[in-house]
């Protein structure tokens, strides 16, 4: 089994205009997603919704100077990172199948690096 991070990128307009009904509906979709993951024999190891990108701060390390703190996310895009899951799946094919049914318009799937060894990033 390998671990994958699902980064959920969506338009934030939705959050600005969301009704309580819409919100309940979205939570139901995530509940159904969690069930589908278990049913596929994979596991959700973690995951949260994130506050809006306007609440983000970025800390940038600088050589020979104090770290620079700026307002906003590291990368400004039309879609913002709105939530994440960490999922344990058999392989990339299973992870991609699950990403296809994940309730989000854009899901970036990133393998989680195994840092248990001492040899540094490989592959």
């Amino acid at each position: 089994m390998a671990q994958y991070m699902f980064l959920l990128y969506d338009s934030e307009e939705w959050y600005d205009n969301v009704t309580p009904d819409d919100w309940q509906q979205a939570m139901k979709l995530h509940g159904a997603f969690a069930e589908a993951v278990e049913k596929a024999g994979a596991r959700i190891l973690g995951g949260e919704a994130l506050e809006r990108s306007t609440t983000a701060s970025t800390v940038k390390q600088r050589e020979g100077a104090e770290p620079l703190v700026t307002d906003g996310p590291f990368i400004e895009t039309k879609e913002a990172l709105g939530g994440y899951y960490v999922i344990e799946a058999r392989d990339l094919d299973q992870a991609l199948e699950l990403a296809k049914i994940c309730p989000s318009g854009n899901v970036e799937v990133r393998p989680v690096m195994d840092t248990s060894g001492d040899s540094g990033p490989q592959g």
């Binding site: 392989d91 990339l92 094919d93």
Partner: protein
Amino acid sequence: MTEAVEVTRVVDRAHRESWSTVLASVVRLTRDLDLAEDCTQDAFVQALRTWPDGIPANPGGWLTTVARRLALDRLRRETTLRRKLPLLVEEPGEIEQPTDPLRLVFTCCHPALARESQVALTLRLICGLTTREVAAVLLIGEPTAAARITRAKKKIAAAGIPYRIPADHELSARLDVVLTVVHLVYTAGHVAAGSELTRTDLTGRAIELARMLERLMPDEPEPQALLGLLLMTEARGDARVSADGELVLLADQDRSRWNMQLLVEGVSRATEALERGQGRFALQAAVAGLHVTAPSWAKTNWGQVVRMYDAMMVSWPTPIVALNRAAAHSLVPGADLTAVLAELDALSNEPALATYAYLPATRADILTRLNRPDEAADAYKAAIALTANEAERRFLTARLQARGAQSWSASPASRRPR
């Protein structure tokens, strides 16, 4: 002792025929593409050294045995180091199987890899080309080719792209990617940029790949359709270029110069595939079949060609299919050329066609036939600016100079309303 020339010839043939089988079998053992490649390469080096004493009865089997033994030795020596590396995901408990090369093919053509990486990896791992050869056939620099291959291999291992034949429910979509890559390898050789019109080695490799897929996936009609399509295209090979190296269009080709053996083989495969399904390669092969079985360009059943493109538009609605459909439509006797021109103009905003020389070339032809020479000239110039092939450029330039005199996509007979 066997003659050195004879040994080289046998090793070359084994390289073409068995490289992917040997490599695929070793990958099952090592679950590491780089190590498997090294061992496969070393087995071929050993063959060159030892086969002068006697060529084995089954060269492919000999190479697999040697490469696997080399891999086992290396694995034993390097266990501690290798344990840290991400290994290919593989279903456990299986031994070497004749369909192993398919695993390699589906891994190289995984949809999570960029198309350009899929092509480079396929040439390297399935066809056994060196990085230098991959760079040469794809017209990219050697460092670019090396970076592309290395990055793709790293992603396969780190992201957990599985080394397996896809399950039934995903097979047709995954197979479509594989066939697209093989088709791209063929077209890269067929409409090669540069001065030579074809690079036969590359077209030959693509046909061998299609043959392998047909053999290993007998239940699927699409590999058979692709093979039929490639064989029919290949059959016209010699007739595509005149004695002085100029491009000859299908309309003007001397049909007696077509390779009948390849043609018959291609048509029979296309026919059989079309009876088994209407996938996009079956439909493309059907179009090619309608062309090669017509007695002449003018007597081609253009209405039927248009119907095949219509069927393609249902499952594969791309701007390129739409362009081909419009070009075929313009050749149906009595076609409304002004309407076809409007279809082409509607396609001109498609980003996928922005650098595609065939769009302005087709427009130029229609404009010539509509007797609008100035607009035709502009379209020819646009097409000339876009083509990377020297022979195509010379051809279009000649048409530009002769515009108004003759249409390139229709003989005079086919334009006469009936």
